[in-house]
């Protein structure tokens, strides 16, 4: 009886081992190759899987071993992931934490175990978290951070909306208290203020955020609730959440027949964005930031290689630009170079690995659809 069941299980286990060795054979010969660990909220959702794509490409190009730990942005699991990766013998870690305070533990762990660490999508704010900031400066193993200027991003999106005539703007976020969201929120508010200063007799309002989680069905439920409660909104900002929240929100607007009436902007690129833009489902979108971890990866890689020096009184900070897409044409181009293909091919990645920090920073700043276009057309 129960032996049958056991047998089934054992077979399953065997399979999974075989399967794992299928794509795990790199780790078997981990002797000389550097090993870089990625601590990410999820390597499977829309944004996460894109990050994984580009990182895997880079790892392949530079012949580096790479391993992932999903921490779901749960604080204790974020800190634990750093320990797991150090224990696994990583030479460097790139991490996307949820709250800045976690970095204290992360940086300490890495310092103790002589593992280099860089943040992506996140930065420690000097004002809000002075201690963490100081620690980051002090630690020779904290390489640096790659992040977007979330506040500007927020401002821009609001500006786009207001220009398109939106005056009552609802806000749907994913998880309460998430560091990135809080920054973007500041941005939105700043944007509104700016607009109201310029147009005192034509003010715009921003509603308090509601939280739709990171799945599309909760995203839709929340969006519907928002619209039901405020039938008169003419714009909705979906702050992020990996893309699925946005998918849900659009579904809601769709099924309520408000497509085009409610302008939607967001900061996660949708797979079918072109359609949405064409049909007026989306007003504008910022994103393309899935290359952000790539630069964090490069920082850590070069530091391991010894090309970059880390010091006890500074760290590298790379600002990563958002790409803005507000028309199907834009998106067509974006899709060509960012969806169907990766913005950097193997050679470019290898070449990128040889750049100095300054050039790398420039490289990051210069990333844009046109930039890729030129590179491709150059060849």
């Amino acid at each position: 009886m129960k032996k049958v069941g056991l047998l089934v299980l054992c077979v399953l286990l065997a399979c999974s081992f075989v399967f794992a060795n299928g794509q795990g054979e790199k780790s078997s010969a981990a002797a000389k190759k550097p090993l870089i660990g990625v601590s990410i909220w999820s390597s499977t959702d829309t944004l996460g899987s894109q990050c994984k794509l580009i990182l895997d490409a880079a790892a392949k190009a530079l012949d580096v071993d790479i391993m992932y730990v999903d921490q779901g942005h749960i604080s204790e699991q974020v800190t634990a992931s750093a320990e797991t990766l150090s224990a696994a013998g990583c030479d460097g870690i790139i991490i996307c934490n949820s709250a800045s305070a976690e970095m204290t533990s992360v940086i300490n762990t890495c310092t103790e175990n002589k593992v280099y660490v860089a943040q992506f999508f996140r930065a420690i704010n000097q004002k809000d978290n002075p201690n963490e900031y100081a620690l980051a400066l002090k630690s020779p193993y904290y390489v640096g951070t790659v992040h977007e200027n979330e506040i500007d991003n927020g401002k821009n999106l609001v500006k786009i909306l207001c220009d398109k005539g939106a005056r009552k703007i609802a806000l749907e976020a994913w998880e309460a208290g998430d560091a990135t969201f809080l920054l973007r929120w500041q941005g939105y508010k700043a944007g509104i203020e700016a607009w109201n200063k310029e147009h005192p007799n034509d003010k715009a309002v921003l509603l308090d955020p509601q939280y739709g989680g990171t799945t599309s069905d909760t995203g839709r439920a929340t969006a519907e609730a928002i619209i039901n409660a405020n039938p008169d909104i003419d714009a909705l900002i979906v702050a992020g959440g990996g893309g699925d929240t946005l998918v849900g929100a659009l579904a809601a607007i769709d099924s309520m027949g408000l497509k085009g009436k409610i302008k939607v902007v967001s900061t996660d690129f949708l797979a079918d964005l072109d359609k949405q833009l064409a049909t007026g489902g989306m007003a504008a979108e910022s994103g393309g930031h899935y290359c952000d971890p790539l630069f964090a990866f490069m920082l850590v890689y070069n530091t391991i290689k010894g090309n970059y020096k880390t010091s006890t009184n500074s760290f590298y900070e790379i600002n990563f630009p958002y790409l803005y897409v507000s028309s199907p044409e834009d998106y067509a181009a974006y899709a060509k170079y960012f969806v169907d293909d990766l913005p950097y091919n193997a050679d470019e990645l290898r070449e990128m690995a040889t750049l100095s920090v300054e050039d790398l920073t420039k490289k990051a700043a210069s990333l844009s659809i046109q930039d890729v276009q030129s590179r491709r057309s150059g060849k």
């Binding site: 204790e76 305070a101 533990s105």
Partner: protein, 323 residues
């Protein structure tokens, strides 16, 4: 009918060699050792490298301490799904109070935990609602508070808290808590009451135990213990977001079961279940990523290993009806 139940019970009592009690009680240990061995081989020794021991154990402290509370609850035959939320909420309390004084913070956290635990206990005991249902409701209740409080951003703890994030301290605290627990469960009547109540509540009542009171206190105590664990959680994390402590309850359940804890509680539950279980769990947790670079695979293996270990080590004799 009673006659029937007894017959069926005795029919199940065919003693096979692997059903021998002394062997049974060691099964989880064997499981643990087996896992250690297998994974040391698979990770070519990474996990037993002295440098790593510290890292391997980094996650275990909170889990182990919190598990002790749930261990008591499960011994009396209950179950608690609100642990994660309790941890989250009392962590927040700690963060707030720690701004004033860390000592007070700890007390506050423990008090908060106790309050939440007693809330569970009250509904379970007074209104005779299955602990399973009560704690799922309170899981939502407390989690809701957590999220609400952290709406405008994570709750930071006082800056000196993170300085306490020392391994020796965590180890010390864990040992202290565990030994207190061990002491109480083994050298006072509490342990015996818990076993008796879990094994046969009515009979225990007729032997002078106070099942209702005891259960209530157990829930309260478990809450308080988790409240204390929140202190260790915070010194590790530094600030608390709405998701703090999520899934702790499931981790505890998995850990205890891996440790050989009979889900139906009773006399066969041993203190060692806590230690072996939590250790096994964190070894799994830590070593799988070393072998499998992809998180999905890690989890697949985790799930199957869990099922195999349980299927091999679980004591079916103690459960007449398998629910």
């Amino acid at each position: 009918m009673t006659e029937h139940t007894r017959n069926t019970a005795t029919n199940e009592m065919k003693v096979k060699w692997w059903e021998l009690p002394w062997l049974r009680s060691f099964m989880p240990l064997f499981g643990f050792i087996a896992i250690i061995v297998v994974f040391s081989i698979l990770t070519d020794g990474k996990i037993i490298r002295p440098r790593n021991i510290n890292l391997m154990l980094s996650q275990v402290y909170v889990l182990m301490i919190a598990s002790m509370g749930v261990f008591m609850i499960m011994t009396v035959g209950g179950i608690d799904f609100s642990q994660g939320s309790i941890l989250g909420l009392s962590s927040i309390i700690f963060c707030w109070v720690s701004q004033r004084s860390i000592g007070l913070g700890i007390l506050a956290a423990v008090a908060a935990g106790a309050a939440m635990g007693s809330f569970n206990g009250l509904f379970h005991v007074k209104f005779k609602i299955a602990s399973f249902i009560v704690t799922i409701c309170t899981m939502y209740l407390f989690r809701g508070l957590c999220k609400y409080i952290t709406t405008s951003g994570p709750v930071p703890a006082s800056v000196d808290v993170v300085a306490l994030n020392q391994t020796w301290l965590k180890v010390l605290l864990t040992i202290v808590v565990l030994s207190i627990g061990f002491f109480i469960l083994h050298f006072t009547r509490v342990g015996h009451d818990l076993h008796a109540i879990g094994a046969g509540e009515t009979a225990a009542r007729f032997s002078g135990c106070r099942p209702d009171l005891t259960k209530f206190l157990v829930f309260t105590a478990s809450g308080a213990i988790t409240g204390f664990a929140s202190f260790i959680n915070v010194i590790k994390v530094g600030s608390i977001t709405g998701t703090a402590g999520s899934q702790l309850e499931t981790q505890i359940l998995i850990a205890l079961v891996l440790g050989g804890m009979p889900i139906s509680g009773g006399a066969k539950s041993r203190f060692s279940n806590i230690i072996i279980g939590t250790l096994t769990y964190s070894v799994l947790e830590k070593s799988l990523p070393m072998i499998f670079p992809v998180s999905a695979t890690q989890q697949l293996v985790k799930g199957i290993v869990f099922l195999i270990v349980v299927a091999l080590t679980i004591d079916r004799k103690s459960l007449r009806v398998i629910k």
